[in-house]
């Protein structure tokens, strides 16, 4: 026993991990890739255009308010000799400012700074706020039915006017209901729709098929919900099932149909039992969800970044000179025209890489944390938490530096390309950092 203190600490940590594992495990996470709508407009223009408010947007607005408040507090009463909050904010600002100037030169660095730094701060604060406990922990309860269908749902218990997920269950997983939809019929109708499209069938016919598909899906989801009602699966239905197969000439399909009906009947009982217990099968749409885990958010940031990059390029070189980077006369300059075409593609690739780098990193981080807190809520999840703190800042900085680097590329003059040096994307004109190669 060389060091009894260390042994005690190790034992305590193990006990804590064990306690967390057996008693305080989080609910089994339901991974949702899309941001959950907290409000949806009653007028339906389709998935793509219907106005809605996502929980990621709420988080974005929260982050915006936090940033504005902190900056206002820090710069309200500026002193030449900084202290406290002003010191911290100035440290960040100076670091970004110097990096920007180092990468893009004095003049361009100053020009790019405000937009790039705002991008950095917004992404960074959003990512760090997402690590606070208010995120992903409480939200709107959406009961699962055929109108709000989800393949997985929690069983919520109502107590004190609040619906809870109770994970505190000795040795057991937090309850999670899984609905398995029988897509057999829907797939068949899908095939018919494809066939009709190929045959150039009249529009009415296709629409009718689509409606039919919707109905079939609806029905299949209803059946799935009924079949999976918690409690229903535990009933011993062998006697009832035996009734279905009594007559020897009955086909398998009829037996299946019969069994399904029995299931539905019993799941109705189970549902009533649940309601009587004050329970509910539902999913929770958290009020706050990490801003960058919804594809809309990184896409809008990437959009802003790319728009500003093009804007800087146009204002620095002039519209036609900048445009000549992309569009050349293919007859007089076939190689240049091809390179210009590649440049256009690169521009879009940039947008997509911006978007998915951030989205992928943050969604993966969130899922990692959810899974770790589900598996080992205490201590073991901690290193991953630290990792997310790191990744949250790094992703913001990556966005920042790529914006500045691409901006420096865009404002660089491309004159020498006219002398046949097409492979060199103006890197000679970019002072400082070599992070100028387009990332994919």
């Amino acid at each position: 026993m060389k060091n009894p203190k260390a042994i005690l600490i190790a034992l305590g940590a193990l006990a804590l991990i064990g306690f967390g594992f057996f008693f305080v495990r989080g609910p089994k996470p339901i991974i949702e890739i899309k941001g959950e709508p907290l409000w949806t407009s009653s007028s339906d223009y389709g998935e793509f255009l219907t106005p809605m408010i996502l929980n990621t947007q709420v988080a974005g607005v929260l982050a915006t308010l936090v940033i504005i408040f902190v900056c206002w507090r820090a710069t309200r009463n500026m002193k030449l000799i900084p202290s406290g909050l002003q010191n911290a904010i100035e440290g960040v600002t100076e670091f970004l400012y110097n990096t920007s100037i180092q990468m893009a030169g004095e003049k361009n660095g100053r020009r790019f700074f405000a937009v790039a730094a705002t991008l950095f701060v917004f992404i960074w604060i959003n990512n760090w706020l997402a690590l606070t406990p208010i995120y992903n922990s409480f939200g709107k309860v959406v009961p699962v039915d055929s109108h709000h269908f989800h393949e997985e749902a929690h069983i919520l218990t109502e107590q004190g006017g609040i619906s809870w997920i109770f994970p505190f269950k000795l040795g057991g997983d937090a309850p999670l209901v899984e609905f398995e939809v029988d897509m057999h019929e829907v797939d068949e109708i899908d095939a018919q729709i494809r066939q009709a499209n190929l045959d150039k069938a009249p529009r009415e016919e296709v629409l009718a098929l689509k409606e039919e598909r919707e109905e079939a899906l609806h029905h299949a989801q209803e059946l799935a919900i009924d079949a999976a009602m918690p409690g229903a699966a535990n009933l011993d239905l062998s006697e009832e099932y035996a009734v279905c197969g009594e007559e020897p000439e009955v086909s398998v399909t009829v037996i299946e149909e019969c069994k399904r009906e029995i299931n539905i009947e019993h799941s109705e009982e189970a549902r009533l039992q649940l309601e009587a217990d004050g329970k509910q099968v539902a999913v929770i749409y958290p009020y706050f969800r990490s801003f960058n885990t919804d594809l809309n958010s990184p896409l809008s940031l990437a959009f802003i970044s790319v728009v500003f990059i093009e804007f800087w390029g146009i204002t620095a070189l002039g519209f036609f000179k900048y445009g000549s980077k992309f569009i050349r006369n293919p007859i007089t300059d076939p190689i240049g025209a091809f390179v210009g075409f590649l440049e256009i593609i690169a521009e879009f690739a940039r947008l997509i890489s911006f978007t998915f780098r951030l989205f992928g990193n943050m969604l993966a981080g969130e899922i990692l944390l959810l899974v770790m807190t589900f598996l080992m809520p205490f201590l073991v999840a901690l290193p991953f938490y630290g990792l997310e703190v790191f990744v949250g800042a790094i992703q913001g900085f990556v966005f920042f530096s790529l914006t500045v680097a691409f901006g420096a590329l865009a404002v660089a003059s491309h004159d020498h390309e006219d002398h046949g040096d097409e492979h060199d994307l103006g890197e000679h004109d970019v002072p400082g950092d070599q992070q100028t190669a387009p990332a994919h």
């Binding site: 793509f48 255009l49 504005i68 900056c71 500026m78 594809l295 809008s300």
Partner: protein
């Protein structure tokens, strides 16, 4: 179909627009509240620091210069003091030497005077003695010869006689 695929990923145009607007508002507000004043402050401070540094540099140069001046003054005064001391020592040795030579000279003078006096006394004594001796001799001779000699011829004879003797040679 492509658009439907994008919608499956959760992309929604109103949400996109709202996000862009939200970011734009943040950008404008931060420009006013943060980036403007902060970069101004950074530039100001940078300038101040540069000024301060140059002032410090200047002060350093000035300090070095004044130190050199002081050192020079100290050196000069030390040199002067040493010179003074040397001078004083020189003077004192000179005075000592003077005094010594004076004393010597005085002593020698006194001695010489004494010797002179002694010489004179002796000369006088010798002269007296010679006169008396001459007178005695003449008296004696008068007595011997019995006759009085011409005094002047007599004196000449005596002087001639004396010149022949070593006694006269030594005293003239």
């Amino acid at each position: 179909m492509v658009i439907l695929g994008i919608a499956d990923l959760g992309i929604n145009v109103p949400v996109l627009i709202a996000n862009v607007v939200n970011f734009t508002v943040l950008l404008i507000v931060l420009r006013l509240v943060a980036w403007g004043p902060l970069t101004k402050m950074l530039d100001e401070r940078r300038e101040k620091i540069a000024q301060g540094l140059s002032a410090a540099e200047q002060a350093k140069v000035q300090a070095a210069e004044s130190e050199r001046n002081v050192q020079e003054a100290v050196d000069a005064s030390r040199r002067e003091a040493q010179q003074l001391i040397a001078q004083a020592q020189e003077i004192s040795t000179r005075i000592q030497a003077d005094a010594r030579t004076q004393a010597q000279a005085d002593a020698e003078a006194t001695l010489a005077r004494a010797r002179n006096d002694i010489q004179q006394e002796r000369d006088t004594a010798i002269a007296d003695l010679r006169r008396e001796f001459a007178d005695l001799a003449i008296e004696a001779a008068e007595k011997v010869i019995g006759q009085s000699l011409d005094r002047n011829a007599h004196q000449r004879l005596i002087t001639e006689a004396l010149a022949g003797s070593s006694f006269a040679e030594r005293n003239n």
